[in-house]
């Protein structure tokens, strides 16, 4: 909980130097300028497939963990669980342990103590909720500047609205709705059933050991099982279920019942593990007295190996794509209205709409040249030079002409393929785009 919360609250405050004209926030979703920064990686909108790839990896990762370990996401990493745990923690500090809280809850009279405790608790929750909403908006703007603006009231209304909405939802979901969100609002509990199988580690009750339930009677050979029906497992369950009824949709595998039961087992001198992480396939073996198979045997099976492979493939693909992408980029769109223009000396001219992207933090000159039929010649609109400047971290739309002299092969043929080269003059980085030249014959 501390780890996940720490990551969430602190990330926007990390700095990362990118040069003079780019923001220095390590993780920043810059909606206004349509850029996404993640440490040394900068993603433009047309590279959104990186984000899609990450989401695919997240999905596959979720499948992998669910099929191997059950709902560990729900129990340990899901924001709903993390914030609920945090809220319960606050509740415990202010109102005392579970029994004290229950007493307070059942107390009908609204005396001073109850009002004071309730208000303290709600204000603490509200502050946490506001901090949560506040941290969210820092991902979308320069955090220190925005923090000052938020306090002085100079920030954009959208920032305040976002904070208000997130404050409200955090307060409501973490403080009051809690497991209702998991049961009624979240689709994952329904999907997880398809991800799990009999080898998945999940929380289970060894009923062959525990049943029949009954009190321990001193000095007598007990006829009952190990379960003494103390209800400790039910009391700690954040989802309010009885794990002894078997696997249930509500279970988020948080493991609180395991800890609670182990405590009791130690107190009554019985072996631990009446409630434990176990795979359903082991149930048969344990009933017949065989030892359970090792965790590794459960974890390595075709299904998890396939998920891991897919996950790795997507990951490797993304990393490769990340390293292969160039810091300069160009797209070329031949103008088709009209496809060609005859000039007064009879030469044929084609026009191309070229987009040049400079992903560097400083201005760069792009030289435009072509490779193909030697008769073809490049001319850049608006300048006699063969290079154009592209401002830092910007895109430039540039019209480029290609001219074939009268009587040359490209001028008289239907189409002639050729290649545009775009070169960063400062360091020689270059990219190309293949396109065609339309001649008179078409």
């Amino acid at each position: 909980m501390a780890v996940t919360l720490g990551i969430y609250y602190l990330t926007p405050w990390l700095r990362w130097d990118r040069g003079p004209s780019l923001p220095d926030q390590a993780v920043l979703i810059d909606m206004a300028n349509r850029r996404f920064f993640f440490f040394m990686i900068e993603i433009w909108p047309h590279e959104f497939y990186f984000v899609a790839g990450l989401l695919i990896m997240a999905g596959l990762g979720l499948f992998l963990f669910t099929s191997a370990l059950g709902r560990v996401w729900c129990g340990y990493a899901c924001p709903q669980t993390v914030w609920t745990d945090l809220f319960i923690l606050v509740e415990r500090w202010i109102e005392g342990d579970r029994n004290a809280r229950l007493r307070l809850h059942r107390q009908k009279k609204l005396d001073f103590r109850k009002v004071r405790l309730r208000i303290t608790k709600w204000i603490s929750w509200l502050l946490i909720a506001m901090a949560t909403g506040g941290a969210w908006v820092f991902y979308f703007a320069d955090a220190p500047t925005l923090a000052i603006n938020l306090v002085t009231g100079a920030a954009h209304p959208i920032a305040y609205t976002t904070i208000a909405i997130l404050t409200f939802t955090t307060f409501l979901f973490g403080g009051f709705a809690r497991e209702q969100i998991c049961i009624y609002a979240c689709p994952w509990p329904r999907i997880q059933a398809a991800m799990m199988d009999e080898d998945t580690l999940t929380i289970g009750y060894r009923d062959w050991r525990g049943e029949p339930r009954g009190k321990v009677q001193k000095g007598k050979e007990s006829e009952t099982g190990d379960c003494i029906n103390c209800m400790a497992c039910v009391n700690v369950c954040p989802m309010g279920i009885d794990i002894r009824d078997g696997q249930q949709m509500e279970c988020i595998t948080c493991g609180l019942c395991i800890d609670a039961c182990d405590d009791i087992m130690e107190k009554i001198g019985k072996p631990r593990g009446l409630i434990d992480y176990l795979a359903l396939s082991d149930e048969e073996r344990e009933r017949s007295g065989e030892p359970p198979r090792s965790v590794w045997k459960h974890a390595f099976r075709p299904r998890t190996i396939m998920y891991t492979t897919l996950w790795s493939l997507v990951g490797i693909g993304l990393v490769v794509a990340l390293f292969l992408r160039s810091d300069i980029e160009a797209t070329v769109a031949p103008v088709r209205n009209p496809t060609y223009v005859t000039l007064s000396d009879g030469s044929i001219r084609n026009t191309y709409e070229v987009r040049l992207r400079n992903k560097h933090g400083d201005d760069r000159m792009f030289r435009i040249s072509l490779k193909g039929d030697p008769a073809l010649r490049v001319q850049i609109e608006g300048t006699p030079y063969e290079a154009v400047p592209v401002p830092a971290d910007q895109m430039r739309n540039q019209r480029v002409y290609v001219i074939a002299p009268a009587g040359s092969l490209p001028a008289d043929s239907e189409t002639t393929p050729f290649r545009f080269w775009f070169e960063d003059v400062s360091n020689g980085d270059r990219v190309y785009k293949d396109t065609i030249f339309n001649g008179k014959a078409q």
């Binding site: 103008v335 209205n337 009209p338 223009v341 005859t342 000039l343 007064s344 000396d345 009879g346 001219r349 026009t351 609109e381 608006g382 019209r399 002409y401 009268a406």
Partner: protein
Amino acid sequence: MSKAPKKFDNDPSTTGHEWDGIEEFNNPLPRWWLWVFYATIVWGIGYTIAYPAWPGISNATAGVMGWSTRAIIAADLKEAEDKLAPINAKLEAAELTEIASDPELGPYAVSAGSAVFKTWCAQCHGSGAAGAKGYPNLLDNDWLWGGDIEAIYTTISHGIRNEDDDDARYSEMPAFGELLEKEEIDQVVNFVMSLSGEAPDPSLVAAGAVVYEDNCSACHMEDGTGDREQGAPNLVDAIWLYGGDYDTLKETVTYSRYGVMPPWSRDASSAGRLTEAQVRAVSAYVHQLGGGE
């Protein structure tokens, strides 16, 4: 014998209607529902008074609030105009030749000019400005009246061969069908074709040169390069406004051509439709299409 119908425990009241022993329960609408229904009726009456609603013979009732979509659009247009007023004023004050290189005015003039062009010019010159037979191609580097920004601006402002603007560009080739013999026209067409390519009948070229010298060279110049001062086309290049084949040229010489363009500037003529800023913007747009000089 039929049994008495079994009543429900809580015996809901009926409407009192009965058909062959079948009774109808009285299930009134929920109160809140009914009141919401009444409220919508009241609201609906109020709405028809406040807003345009009831159709009449030629028009609908206007409504007491004076709401109209036309007024909204007019307001939107006014707002856009006001927003652009400062930059349009700058555009009007700028030197024509300076517009393209101005970092603020250049891109603005081109995008504003593109909108003007697609609204007013594309009908004849095409949305891609490639023109058509009789409508000059604005992408190439051949200009009847000049291709620098000043010349383009003058042409757009005053138009060509129109009666609405005294400053309109004006040139008129005589219809030589009334002045020359058929053979002479044949000869001169062959000569003109020989200027930029091959004459269909080379034997007539020499005679055509004489006809050309006497009748055409005053405007089209002795070497056939034309004269922009008079709007006389260049006859030696590869570009023909109406076509460079034998039949088309013969038609051109016999009957002449009379292409027109309206005056666009409001300031120059009462027939003009564009403001000074719009004329300047579309001039800048045309100038950067690829043929500007």
